[in-house]
Structures are given as structure tokens and as C-alpha cells.
């Protein structure tokens, strides 16, 4: 792959999964690199003038104001995700287990239910980590018009996505959530720690 394409890909990777913004920035960068090449410079020189791709992406994103997501839509998104996991994963597994074991191995049902709860807990914890890292939102956040970004507006890393969800593995997750009621940007404690935030996915951002 060419150096300019690698550079552009690195810039684009920082931007939200938004066809409009990504396409515009890609076209612009391609055009600006070509301008310098047409004036006798090498692609490498052109890339040097553009600077660090992550800084450039964040400079573009700085033009888009971020609106902190209010507390209640966030809570609703969390509930939608929780019920989604229950309805789509837990209930079918439990129904299948009960119907299968009902007649001959009924004594296994409690064990199967415990195993199911364990699997659902793991999936419930993994789902937001993967969805927010990959797509910047879960189904609940999508339905509530929200998305997860870095403080700069760039896409979050996998590590940040993991740190965001750590309190969900503890008994004190609700204390973490309460922070969102009182902080300026409606951030949970672990969002402040992971330098991420949940924002309104507006028309021009998404």
C-alpha cells in the first residue's frame, strides 16, 4: 500500500464511523497531498507537512462540538441493552434447556440455569466492550441517538472500551453511574478514568 494511503487510513481510523465525515476528510487529504506532489514535492514531504495523523484527525474533530448525553437517555440505553441480552440470549437458552431436559434429566435444570446465567453475564459484559470499540455504540445507544468517543471526539481504543466497563463487573457499579449525574460532561467515574465520554450523535456527526 502507498505511503499516502497508509497515512489517510490512519487519520480515517480515528474518525467516527460516519460515511460523510470520513469521505470528506479522505477526499480532502488526497487532494491536498496531490497539490504538493503537483508542485514538485514527494509524497513523503507532503505527509511531513500534514504532521501526525492522530493529531490531524483530532484537529478535524475539534471543529465538531460534542454534546454531552443526558443521564436518562443513557440509563434508557443501558436498560435496552440489558433487556436485549436477556431476551435474545438468556431466554432462548433457558427455554431450550428446560424443554430438552424436562422429562428425563430434570435434576440438571438448576445446573443448566446457573451455567446459562454465567454465560449471559459474560456476554453481557463483553457485548458493550466489543460494540463500543467496533461501532462506537451499542444497540441501546444507537436507539437513543448516543455514541461513545474519546475526549477529543475520536474513536475509542479497545483498552478504553474495557476500562469503561470495569465497574459493571463489581458490586459498586451504581456509584460509578451516579457520577454521571454530577459531573460537567455527565461522565461516569470510569469514563473520566478512561478519557471517554458519551455524546449525542447528531446529524452532522453521524
Amino acid at each position: 500500500m502507498n505511503a499516502d494511503q497508509v497515512y489517510i487510513d490512519r487519520v480515517i481510523a480515528q474518525l467516527p464511523l460516519d460515511a460523510g465525515l470520513r469521505t470528506q476528510v479522505e477526499m480532502e487529504l488526497r487532494s491536498h497531498i496531490a497539490e504538493r506532489v503537483e508542485h514538485g514535492q514527494s509524497v513523503e514531504e507532503a505527509l511531513t507537512h500534514l504532521g501526525d495523523p492522530i493529531v490531524l484527525a483530532e484537529s478535524y474533530l475539534a471543529a465538531i462540538p460534542l454534546i454531552a448525553a443526558p443521564f436518562w437517555p443513557r440509563a434508557a440505553a443501558r436498560l435496552i441493552d440489558a433487556f436485549g441480552v436477556l431476551a435474545l440470549v438468556a431466554m432462548p437458552i433457558i427455554a431450550f434447556v428446560v424443554l430438552t431436559l424436562w422429562r428425563e434429566q430434570g435434576f440438571l435444570i438448576p445446573i443448566a440455569i446457573i451455567v446459562t446465567i454465567f454465560i449471559v453475564s459474560i456476554l453481557g459484559a463483553l457485548y458493550p466492550v466489543i460494540a463500543e470499540y467496533r461501532y462506537g455504540k451499542t444497540v441501546g445507544k444507537h436507539l437513543m441517538g448516543l455514541r461513545v468517543v474519546r475526549e477529543s471526539g475520536a474513536r475509542i481504543s479497545f483498552g478504553q472500551s474495557v476500562v469503561r466497563q470495569l465497574p459493571m463487573l463489581t458490586q459498586v457499579w451504581w456509584i460509578d453511574m451516579l457520577f454521571a449525574l454530577f459531573t460537567d460532561k455527565h461522565q461516569r467515574a470510569f469514563e473520566i478514568l478512561s478519557k471517554t465520554r458519551v455524546v449525542v450523535a447528531r446529524e452532522e456527526q453521524s
Binding site: 480532502e28 487532494s31 491536498h32 507537512h49 504532521g51 478535524y60
Partner: protein, 121 residues
């Protein structure tokens, strides 16, 4: 390099950053231009006193475009990559007037302050 030199560079950088929108709007008031033209015109007209990197300029142009101060058009050559041209809008002209006034007021106040001699006792 000493800390004082770093401070001076820091001040110059902050001043430039704060006035970048004014610089770009002013350059576009001279006529439509594409990105590389804006960079080179700035260097030429200030004898290199004011230089800006592409990585600093393009996000500013994007911000001005979003704000409606700059309009763009793409020109597609027969061969090669399409080129993006920027021009000032009416709102951009007004913004330029406002920023120019702000800058003049600030520069005059600074000049007035720095002209003052220490009082002798």
C-alpha cells in the same frame, strides 16, 4: 534550548493559533484559492514571518467551511486528483471584519502599553 526560548516560541505559537482564522479569512478575501496556494501565499506575503503547516491549516478550513464562512467547490481535472477551492462567503466577509476589528483593538492596546516609559522617581 532554554526554558525562556521555549516560552517565547510558545507565545508565538499561541498568537498564531489565535489568529489563524483571521489569517485564512484575510487571504481568502484576496480571492479564491486552494490549500497549497493559501500556505504559499501566506509565506510569500509575510516573507516567511508567518508560516503554517498543512496539518494546521486544513482543519481550520474545515471549521470555517462548517461555520459557513467559506464556500468550496471541487474542480476535477482531466487527469489527476480533484482539487478543492475555497472562497469567502458573505458571512465570512462579516466575520473577517469582526476579527480584524478585534485584532486591531488588541494590537493598538499592546502598542500603547509597550510605548509607555517607566516613570522616574
Amino acid at each position: 534550548m532554554s526554558g525562556r526560548d521555549d516560552d517565547r516560541k510558545g507565545i508565538a505559537r499561541e498568537l498564531k493559533r489565535g489568529s489563524l482564522e483571521l489569517i485564512v479569512l484575510h487571504l481568502l478575501s484576496l480571492g479564491e484559492a486552494y490549500g497549497y496556494e493559501i500556505v504559499t501565499t501566506l509565506t510569500e506575503r509575510t516573507n516567511g514571518g508567518l508560516e503554517v503547516t498543512d496539518g494546521t491549516l486544513y482543519p481550520v478550513l474545515y471549521r470555517l467551511e462548517r461555520a459557513g464562512f467559506v464556500a468550496v467547490r471541487w474542480e476535477t481535472p482531466q487527469r489527476g486528483v480533484p482539487r478543492k477551492y475555497y472562497r469567502l462567503t458573505e458571512a465570512g466577509q462579516e466575520e473577517l471584519g469582526r476579527l480584524t476589528h478585534e485584532w486591531s483593538t488588541f494590537a493598538n492596546a499592546m502598542a500603547q502599553l509597550l510605548r509607555q516609559q517607566p516613570e522616574r522617581t
